[in-house]
């Protein structure tokens, strides 16, 4: 990151960011002319190279995937489901090959066959109606997914019937409690970040509150890029006020007056719905009186790494969204160099419930360390795919049972996104939905998305897919990830094509290098599922590896 660029962006503020200028100034082409970029550089007092560098980072600005007529989802679930060849065929017939771009996960893993046409997402049987979709701009997807819960009083999936009443809680709390007392409730609830890292939310908010500053920010990470996950999409589209409410409370407690929602471009409907919810929020006179708070939506532009918190902040600032070193942590120096609370959608959405009593109901759910409830995204490999809200600590088996079991023969599951573990079916019964049980078994709860890997999928190809995904999404900053993912991909590809068997020692060295050396969880995380595959599917993989005693190729150095 550049402190200069951060502070120059701060001068302009959240209402006029280079990033948004780059993508929304001309929606039809999504890209600025060289002359427009020059003007922008002058106006933002930054180098022309910065504008160029930023624009070129994103798939949908100057990237290879920019300005296509249609996009095919290539997320893990759609790949495993094998639906995309047909989708691509249909789209190609309609638009021509060079007009088809790729997008990694539209959050429609429950029925797959996902694609995007004219800024709208479709899935399932929609592809059959492609010509109508193109003709009628108002046409909508016929998507459908289950929302089920095992809770008698749902936390996240609860219907919000009366918005006015929903926010009234905030005004009441302000009358009854001091900010310190409210923050204590959140800390006491045991809420931990739902983005995957599980960091204690109360602690994070407290440390931001402790920093003296006139300018602070609340940022909602709604860049749900993990293939297989659509729980944030569900909340944004179905429970937007729960998210806004959590941000409002965070703002009040840490002393921030602006909340920023960074929503991925791949979720256009979510952006519209949250926009409407914000308008609705602004119309609530009582809240305005109690506490002045402004929301701002920042639309992503197609870069998985923007889900990493520091990359996300740099993205808003109009810098290249490469991962920044920590410290400083965002609570000390985040958006525009100001103290910032950055949490996931689901984390914010839990706040209303926690504050509706003394936080005990939330705390009582779970195993004591992981508290409250968790949304789980189940893909089309389940009989009833969709969103499941369960108490932390619930056995995974029981969730699967509720989902009607598998819809097809599977050999493994990938849980927690592309960086989550690959769990062989025989390990499922050991797992409960909480951070601890997964960590203990050598897996990762992550964001709790679950993708089924069908029996016919070759695990060596799954490894190739993981390396390929990492190589495509690596920000390019740290060597272990940017170089390692490409070399890893080549190792596996060469083995599949029969060009050269895998040198196991080299592969293990590579995985260790990525795991120990990477700057963020992308390069550091992808070795986990690969190691899981190597461990649990050794029978399948062995044939692609050299015997340990094989003579090495002579070195070229």
């Amino acid at each position: 990151m550049s402190k200069n660029l951060t502070q120059l962006a701060r001068r302009k503020g959240i209402d006029d960011t280079l990033f948004q200028r780059l993508i929304v100034s001309d929606k039809s082409s999504k890209s600025l002319s060289d002359e427009q970029k020059k003007t922008a550089a002058k106006e933002f007092l930054i180098g022309e190279a910065v504008v160029q560098g930023t624009a070129s980072f994103y798939d949908f600005i100057d990237g290879e995937n920019a300005n296509k007529k249609a996009y095919v989802c290539n997320g893990s679930s759609c790949l495993c489901a094998g639906t995309q060849t047909k989708v691509t065929e249909h789209l190609t017939n309609e638009f021509g090959e060079d007009q088809i771009g790729h997008v990694t996960c539209l959050g429609r893993c429950f029925e797959n066959s996902a694609f995007q046409v004219s800024d709208k997402n479709f899935s399932g049987d929609d592809i059959e109606n492609l010509s109508e979709i193109i003709k009628d701009k108002t046409s909508k997807s016929n998507e459908g997914y289950q929302v089920k819960t095992t809770l008698t009083t749902p936390i996240l999936s609860a219907q919000i019937n009366n918005v006015n009443q929903y926010y009234q809680q905030f005004a009441n709390l302000l009358d009854q409690y001091s900010a310190d007392e409210l923050l204590a409730k959140i800390s006491d609830s045991g809420l931990r970040g739902r983005g995957g890292a599980g960091f204690p939310t109360g602690f994070k908010w407290q440390s931001c509150r402790d920093v003296k500053s006139d300018e602070k920010y609340i940022v909602c990470n709604a860049d749900e890029g993990d293939a297989g996950a659509f729980s944030d999409r569900y909340l944004l589209e179905q429970r937007p006020h729960a998210v806004l409410y959590g941000m409002l409370v965070a703002g009040y407690l840490v002393g921030a007056s602006t909340g920023v929602l960074y929503i991925r471009d791949e979720y256009p409907a979510a952006i519209d719905i949250v926009e409407q919810a914000i308008e609705e929020f602004y119309r609530l006179a009582d809240i305005k009186e109690a506490f002045e708070f402004t929301f701002k939506i920042i639309r992503g532009a197609g870069a998985y790494i923007c889900g990493e918190e520091t990359a996300l902040l740099r993205s808003i600032e109009g810098q290249r969204p490469v991962v920044s070193v920590r410290p400083p942590f965002p609570t000390q120096s985040g958006l525009f160099g100001c103290p910032t609370v950055l949490n996931n959608v689901e984390t914010f959405a839990s706040i209303h419930f926690i504050l509706s009593d003394d936080g005990q109901n939330f705390k009582n759910m779970g195993n004591g360390k992981s508290t409250g409830s968790k949304l789980i995204s189940l893909d089309s490999s389940f009989t009833y795919p969709g969103i499941y809200e369960v108490a932390m600590g619930t056995s995974l088996d029981s969730v699967f049972e509720l989902a009607g079991g598998f819809s097809k023969p599977l050999k493994a599951l990938q849980i927690g996104g592309p960086l989550g573990g690959v769990v062989p079916l025989n390990k499922v019964s050991q797992l409960t939905v909480d951070f601890e049980s997964f960590a203990k078994a050598g897996f990762l709860l992550g964001h709790a998305s679950i993708i089924g890997i069908p029996n016919h999928t070759k695990m060596i190809e799954y490894i190739e897919h993981l390396f390929e995904f990492t190589a495509a999404e690596s920000c390019g900053k740290c060597y272990p990830c940017s170089l390692g993912s490409v070399r890893g991909h080549e190792l596996v590809r060469n083995a599949i094509s029969g060009k050269q068997l895998i040198d196991s020692e080299l592969l293990n060295d590579l995985l260790e290098t990525m795991q120990l050396g990477s700057l963020c969880a992308l390069g550091g995380g992808v070795p986990l599922p690969i190691q899981n595959v190597l461990q649990y599917f050794d029978d399948e993989i062995r044939q692609y590896c050299q015997a340990p005693s094989s003579v090495k190729e002579p070195a070229n150095v």
Partner: protein
């Protein structure tokens, strides 16, 4: 509990946090990273993306170490460059695990380099190769795969620029170049395109160096660990295999910043210049002049023999002949017309020792105070005004105070062009949010970033500064206790200020008074505000007065006498501070003692062993403009000029030429046959800074050692030696020029040099006053002003007579300045490839004026004043307001000083270069 509370307390107070480095406990320093901790303890850790001047980046990961929170606790691998050290940590720098990790990372890096790369056989022996070798990487186990260089476009292998080079085949994506361009120079010409494995370094909108906004500072080339970004000279260095290359550390002669340079020499020829990273002044940074514009030193145009005008022609003579000739001539003039018929102009480009010797010769051997230097035409008002206000005519603080300051006010200066390294430091502060006021008629680079750009009409500084004072006093924002305890004459001053008609001043200066008010309030409210000023303040008829107005603002707000504040002139030439310090002024001798005071006369007589019956001058001598007038009037017969091209650089060229032509004897010490040298009777070939030793004093009073990197060019002598030989020819016994010895003599005469020795100056120099034992002074006027109390001065704004007399006929105001690429008369920079980058002076015309006069960019226009006219190319620009024109004065073809005038500062006779009434018309 056995400990008493007292004991506990003692333990607590003496407790120093510490950490273990490979098992041994060491104290830690607050805020340092693990890498800094290890390096402080001289524990080597390999790095690639680290440059201590840049923010920790964390891309290469080869600095990873094993960290545990207790001796036997679990270890975690952490990148040491961005992980803070903390109390009780155990750091293992060379565990098996991290050594393997480093090797494996380097193996990955090499797998992406060209196939023939091999550290052992690489010719560069650069930083990257050294890391590879030191970490024992000898093989790449991966099969040859995709390389990020496979798809490089043409611009990634770039030879378009006169200096800069790029070949990304060897790029390892450490981003040091990008970060240096942003964090050191602040230009952001470099960035990265794309993402992941295929990301690559770009310039501007992915263009070549020559088409980009690159300012050729070379920071990227200097920091690049592989040579993927380089420059033409570093490439030479590489090709030379480092054999027999000697490096000499010296000080740049291109401006008053005083950057340290490392000059690499082979066989008495310069190969390359870089900047030492440890230099306090410039930490490895320079501008393109310091780093690249040095090839003038052995240019074929160099003078290599003394020349004497015989039969109307300058003819080559021997040194002996020249000195004999001069001794005869000078003695004859002296006996016929008296010592005061002879004068000298010293050079701010020469060393302190040379300046000292010239004034000594003029005063002691000739017997007159007719000695001046180019400070006359630049910062003499600063010296005068600050002496009046504070008692010392020099910067009160140091440039490093920028680190502490919270507010910057920049008046009449464009350091981005004229003091690039300081300009870059200011820009860094401002980009990071430090508020900035710029008071300047031109929208300079820093004005773009300013919170308040007060774009006044040239010549109205006093009006605007008085407005500032008005608002500060009127809003009750003065530092009353400072005023009460440290200053005098406030009452009269404040009454006069409050009586001003602000609306009228706003109209006169053409500024928005609300903007001035906001700026004044912000300045007064800032806890620590630093002011900088340049020739945009001094080179005016009210130059000295404007200086005192700035001093008034500084005192009103108590911004003096501590870190991060003060009043800081940006001295133009490398040693203009020193030239005045050494006594190259007609009214003050070495050390600033007034020459007409009896006590001082005795002081000098004593120090120079002047015999009872020998003459020592006691009358104030001629200032430079007075020298020209006296020459024209026939009162001045001989003029000795050391390294100044007065014909090109002094105002009203016709007048200067006529004056010089009227002399009986014009002696010029020069390295090239300058416009002035062409008129000389005797030309003595001197040497550039690269060929001589001595000291320069930079704009923050820092006396630094200049070390000869090469021998004087054949036929030339160092300027100090020339003066010494002349003194001997005049019958005085002055020992050979040895910098160290002359410096010792200066220390005897100049009190604020008393504690300086050649030895104790070291690599970083000392800031005067330096007392015995080498204790130097970073900040002046800490507890009291040099003059006791600081004095407020009130002056009304007065319109320059240039405007009063000529504005009707010549309705535009021309103001002049320097650009980044060239230096003053361009004698040096025009003889380098800087001329390829900027090849002419251009006139900036506002859109409005361009429209009225039907002028387009690149049109040839005529510029005329009451003195003369010139033609030059126009550029329509938003940098100037309607009614104001701007140009530079680097090219002799143009001779801008044909149009500049005779108006000077009332107190110091500093010429008013910055306000010239002119007319323009399109040349059809």
């Amino acid at each position: 509990m056995s400990n008493s509370p007292t004991t506990n307390l003692t333990i607590k107070n003496s407790y120093k946090p510490s950490a273990f480095l490979n098992g041994v406990s060491h104290h830690i320093v607050k805020g340092e990273s693990i890498l800094e901790f290890c390096r402080r303890l001289e524990q080597e850790i390999p790095t690639l993306c680290d440059d201590y001047r840049l923010d920790a980046f964390g891309s290469c990961r080869v600095c990873s170490v094993d960290v545990a929170l207790s001796a036997d606790g679990p270890r975690r691998v952490m990148a040491s460059c961005h992980s803070p050290i903390s109390d009780g940590m155990h750091i293992y720098t060379h565990s098996e695990r991290v050594e393997k990790l480093r090797k494996n990372i380097l193996e990955l890096v090499i797998s992406d380099l060209p196939d023939d790369y091999s550290p052992q056989s690489a010719p560069h022996n650069n930083e990257f190769d050294q890391v590879v070798i030191a970490n024992g990487v000898s093989e790449v186990r991966f099969a040859r795969g995709e390389k990020s260089s496979d798809k490089l476009p043409e611009v990634s292998r770039d030879q378009s620029h006169p200096y800069m080079r790029m070949n990304l085949d060897m790029c390892i994506d450490c981003n040091r170049c990008v970060r240096a361009c942003d964090e050191i120079q602040g230009e952001q010409v470099l960035s990265v395109s794309g993402r992941g494995f295929n990301s690559r370094i770009i310039k501007g909108q992915d263009v070549n160096f020559d088409d980009s906004d690159c300012v050729s500072c070379g920071a990227c080339a200097q920091t690049c660990p592989t040579g993927a970004i380089s420059d033409v000279f570093r490439d030479n260095l590489t090709a030379e295999f480092n054999d027999n290359i000697e490096t000499t550390r010296t000080v740049c002669s291109y401006c008053g910043v005083g950057c340290n340079l490392d000059v690499s020499v082979k066989d008495n020829k310069i190969i390359s210049i870089t900047a030492p990273s440890d230099a306090e002044v410039n930490s490895g940074h320079t501008c393109l002049k310091g780093r690249y514009a040095w090839r003038f030193y052995n240019h074929p145009d160099r003078l290599t023999s003394p020349l004497v005008r015989i039969d109307g022609e300058l003819q080559k003579v021997s040194w002996q002949y020249a000195f004999d000739y001069l001794a005869d001539k000078l003695s004859a003039i002296k006996s016929a017309f008296g010592a005061d018929a002879i004068a000298g102009i010293s050079s701010a480009r020469c060393t302190n020792e040379e300046n000292y010797l010239l004034q000594k010769m003029i005063r002691l051997n000739i017997g007159t105070n007719n000695i001046d230097c180019c400070a006359r035409v630049c910062h003499s008002p600063t010296a005068y005004g600050m002496q009046k206000s504070f008692g010392t005519g020099a910067a009160t603080n140091s440039i490093e105070d920028l680190k502490q300051t919270e507010f910057i006010m920049l008046i009449g200066a464009n350091p981005t062009a004229a003091h690039p390294v300081t300009g870059a430091k200011i820009k860094q502060k401002v980009m990071k949010g430090t508020p900035l006021i710029v008071i300047d008629p031109v929208k300079t680079e820093l004005a773009r970033f300013a919170n308040w750009h007060i774009q006044l009409r040239p010549g109205t500084n006093v009006a605007v500064l008085n407005m500032m004072a008005f608002y500060i006093i009127n809003e009750g924002l003065v530092d009353q206790s400072f005023i009460d305890n440290r200053t005098e004459a406030y009452k009269e001053y404040s009454q006069a200020i409050l009586a001003l008609n602000i609306d009228e001043l706003a109209i006169v200066s053409g500024v928005d008074k609300t903007l001035v008010r906001e700026a004044a309030i912000a300045y007064a409210k800032a806890t620590n505000a630093m002011s900088f000023h340049g020739l945009g303040v001094t080179e005016h008829s009210q130059g000295s007065r404007a200086i005192m107005c700035i001093a008034d603002l500084v005192m009103l707000t108590g911004n003096i006498g501590r870190e991060g504040v003060g009043m800081n002139p940006l001295r133009g030439q490398n040693n203009v501070q020193g030239a005045a310090d050494m006594g190259c002024q007609p009214h003050q001798g070495a050390g600033y003692f007034p020459v007409d005071d009896e006590e001082n006369v005795n002081y000098y007589r004593e120090h120079y062993n002047v015999g009872k019956h020998e003459r020592w001058p006691t009358d104030i001598g001629y200032k430079i403009p007075e020298m020209f007038n006296a020459a024209l009037a026939g009162d001045l017969k001989a003029l000795w000029i050391l390294g100044e091209d007065v014909v090109q650089t002094d105002p009203n060229q016709k007048h200067v030429i006529a004056s010089l032509a009227n002399l009986d004897l014009l002696v010029v010490q020069e390295i090239f046959l300058s416009e002035t040298a062409k008129m000389a009777d005797v030309v003595l070939p001197g040497t550039s800074f690269l060929e001589k030793s001595g000291t320069f004093t930079n704009g923050e009073r820092r006396v630094q050692r200049v070390n000869a990197a090469v021998k004087p060019k054949d036929g030339c002598k160092t300027d100090g030696q020339i003066i010494v030989e002349m003194m001997n020819a005049l019958g005085y016994s002055q020992p050979e020029y040895v910098a160290e010895d002359v410096l010792a003599e200066i220390a005897q005469v100049v009190p604020f040099f008393a504690g300086i020795t050649w030895e104790n100056l070291g690599d970083h120099g000392l800031q005067w006053p330096v007392s015995d034992g080498g204790n130097d002074t970073k900040i002046l006027h800490v507890d009291a002003f040099k003059r006791g109390l600081g004095k407020f001065h009130f002056y009304q704004f007065e319109e320059s007579s240039e405007i009063v007399s000529h504005s009707e006929q010549y309705p535009y105001i021309l103001t002049t300045s320097r650009n980044l690429e060239h230096y003053n008369a361009g004698t040096m920079t025009r003889r380098t490839d800087n001329k390829v980058i900027v090849s002419e002076d251009v006139l900036l015309v506002s859109r409005q004026d361009a429209k009225v006069n039907n002028i387009k960019t690149n049109d040839q226009v005529k510029l005329f004043s009451a003195r003369g006219e010139i033609e030059l190319k126009a550029e329509v620009s938003d940098k100037v307001k309607a009614g104001v024109l701007f140009t530079t004065f680097h090219f002799p073809e143009l001779m801008i000083n044909q149009v500049t005038g005779n108006v000077t500062d009332k107190h110091t006779k500093c010429p008013e270069y910055k306000v010239v009434a002119v007319g323009i018309e399109l040349v059809s």
